[in-house]
C-alpha cells in the first residue's frame, strides 16, 4: 500500500514539475519578444545603446535556448510519468500477490511465494533501476538549466548597467532591463519550485 501511495505522490510531483516547465517556457517566450523590441529601441538610441543592443541579442538567444532546454525537460518528465505509471501498476500487482500469499495454502502458496520472489528480484528491481536512472538524468538537466538561467541573470545585470548609459533613451531602456530582471526572477522562482518537486519526487 505504501508503495502505491508513494508512486501516486511521485505522479503528483511530476504534474507540478510540468506546470513549472510550462510557466518557464511562457516566460522565455515573453523574454524573446521583449528582447526583440529592445534591439529596435537600442538601434534608435544609436551608439550610446550599442552595448544594450548586443546584450538584447544575447538575451534573445538565451530565451530560445531556454525554451529548447525546457522542452527537453518536458520530454523527460513524460518518460518519468511512463516509468512511474509502470511502477504503480507493478506495485498494485504486488499488493495482490501479497494479499494472495496471506490467505493461500498448499501448492498455491508455493506458486505465490515463487512469483513474489521473482517479482521483487526481477521486474520491480529493473523498474527501480530505470526510475533511478531517469531521476539522475532529470537532476542533471535541471542543474544545467539552473546554470543557463544564471547566465541569463548575468546578461540582465549587464543590460541594466548598459541602460544607464543609453543617452536620451536611458529611461525606457532601464524600464526594459527591469522587465527582463523581473522575468528572470520569475524563471528562477519556477526553477526553485521545480527543483523542490523533483527532490520530493525522487525521495518518494
Amino acid at each position: 500500500m505504501t508503495t502505491t501511495i508513494q508512486r501516486g505522490q511521485q505522479l503528483r510531483h511530476i504534474v507540478r514539475i510540468n506546470e513549472e516547465i510550462k510557466k518557464v517556457i511562457a516566460t522565455a517566450f515573453t523574454i524573446n519578444l521583449m528582447a526583440m523590441n529592445a534591439i529596435f529601441l537600442a538601434k534608435r538610441a544609436g551608439t550610446a545603446a550599442l552595448g544594450f543592443g548586443v546584450l538584447s541579442g544575447e538575451l534573445r538567444r538565451f530565451a530560445i535556448d531556454l525554451q529548447k532546454q525546457m522542452a527537453n525537460l518536458g520530454e523527460m518528465t513524460y518518460d518519468s510519468v511512463s516509468t512511474v505509471t509502470a511502477m504503480l501498476k507493478q506495485a498494485r500487482l504486488n499488493q495482490m500477490v501479497e494479499r494472495t500469499l496471506e490467505i493461500c495454502s498448499g501448492r498455491g502458496k508455493d506458486l505465490v511465494e515463487d512469483a513474489l520472489d521473482s517479482r521483487l528480484n526481477g521486474i520491480l528491481a529493473d523498474r527501480q533501476e530505470q526510475s533511478d536512472a531517469a531521476n539522475h538524468r532529470l537532476s542533471q538537466m535541471i542543474a544545467d538549466t539552473v546554470q543557463l538561467v544564471e547566465l541569463g541573470s548575468v546578461l540582465v545585470r549587464s543590460a541594466k548597467i548598459e541602460a544607464a548609459c543609453g543617452g536620451k533613451l536611458s529611461a525606457p531602456l532601464t524600464q526594459v532591463s527591469s522587465d527582463f530582471e523581473q522575468s528572470i526572477g520569475e524563471i528562477q522562482g519556477s526553477l526553485e519550485k521545480l527543483t523542490k518537486h523533483h527532490f520530493e519526487e525522487s525521495a518518494a
Binding site: M96, V97, T100, E102, I103, R107, G108, K109, L111, R119
Partner: protein
C-alpha cells in the same frame, strides 16, 4: 475467502464452482467462477476482477493446482469478468484467454500479450480441455455485444455468464436455486435492465432449449438445476427486456 465446491465429477472430469466470499467488500458485486477440469488440464470461466483475485486463487488452490490452468474463458469484457487477467498472466505467462473477437483489443488493457488472446468468432467455436470438447455458444447482446457462453455436452452444464444472474440478499446466498418462484424475483430487475435485445434473447432461448442441460451456471447468483433450467429459459423467453423499469 471464497469456497470451492465441486458441482460435477466424473473421474477426471470436474466442474468446480468458486463462490461466496463473506469477506468481500460490500461495494464489490459477488461473482461465481467455474473451473472445468479434465485430468491435468483446466479452463477457468470468467476468472473475475482484480480485487477478488486473492480470494479466487486461494480457494481454487485448495482443490486444484493453479499452475495447471491452461486457459481462461471470458464471456465478455466487463471488469468483474476479466480484470484479473494481468494476475493470471503473472502466474502463467503462457495462459490463453478465449473471448469474443470483438473484445480482444479492449481486454488487452487489463493485461496479457499478443499471444494471450484466442478470439472466438461470432458463431462460437469448440474449445478442447484435455480430451474434453466444450462448445462456446453465442449469446451476443446478452448483455454484451460480443458475448459467449460455454457448454459442456458431457457434463450437460451450461456456463451462462450474466444470463440467469440473480442479485441475492445476504440471507439467501445458497449455491443452488431451491425455490424457483421465490428466486426469480431477484433475477427479474437485472434481466429487464441488462439484457438489451428481445430478438437476441428469443434466439438464445430457442437455441439453448435444444441443448441437453442439467445445470445452468450464471456468473452471479445461484445455479439452476434439473427442471429449473427449462423453467428459467421459458421465464426468460417471456420476459420483456431492454426497458427502463424499476
Amino acid at each position: 475467502m471464497k469456497t470451492a465446491e465441486t458441482i460435477f465429477e466424473d473421474g477426471g472430469h470436474k466442474w468446480i464452482a468458486i463462490v461466496r466470499d463473506p469477506k468481500r467488500p460490500h461495494y464489490i458485486i459477488d461473482t461465481n467462477e467455474y473451473l472445468i477440469v479434465q485430468d491435468d488440464d483446466a479452463i477457468l470461466c470468467d476468472p473475475g476482477g482484480c480485487e477478488i483475485f486473492p480470494a479466487v486463487f486461494s480457494a481454487l488452490s485448495a482443490e486444484f493446482d493453479p499452475s495447471r490452468i491452461r486457459a481462461l474463458f471470458s464471456s465478455h469484457q466487463d471488469p468483474d469478468i476479466i480484470s484479473s487477467l494481468s494476475m493470471w498472466v503473472e502466474f502463467n505467462p503462457d495462459i490463453k484467454c478465449y473471448l469474443s473477437w470483438l473484445w480482444a483489443d479492449f481486454v488487452a488493457h487489463f493485461g496479457g500479450t499478443e499471444k494471450t488472446f484466442v478470439v472466438i468468432p461470432d458463431g462460437g467455436m469448440e474449445i478442447f480441455v484435455g480430451g474434453l470438447r466444450l462448445q462456446a455458444v453465442p449469446a451476443h447482446y446478452l448483455h454484451s455485444s460480443g458475448n459467449l457462453h460455454l457448454y459442456d455436452p458431457k457434463a450437460r452444464i451450461l456456463f451462462s455468464g450474466d444470463v440467469g444472474t440473480a442479485l441475492l440478499p445476504p440471507d439467501e446466498e445458497g449455491l443452488f436455486v431451491e425455490n424457483f418462484d421465490h428466486h426469480i424475483q431477484h433475477a427479474e430487475g437485472f434481466h429487464r435492465r441488462w439484457m438489451g435485445s428481445d430478438k437476441a434473447k428469443r434466439d438464445w432461448c430457442e437455441r439453448v432449449s435444444r441443448l441437453d442441460i442439467d445445470m445452468l451456471c450464471p456468473q452471479h447468483g445461484a445455479i439452476y438445476r434439473g427442471e429449473d433450467v427449462a423453467r428459467f429459459i421459458d421465464w426468460f423467453a417471456n420476459l420483456e427486456v431492454g426497458v427502463l423499469k424499476s
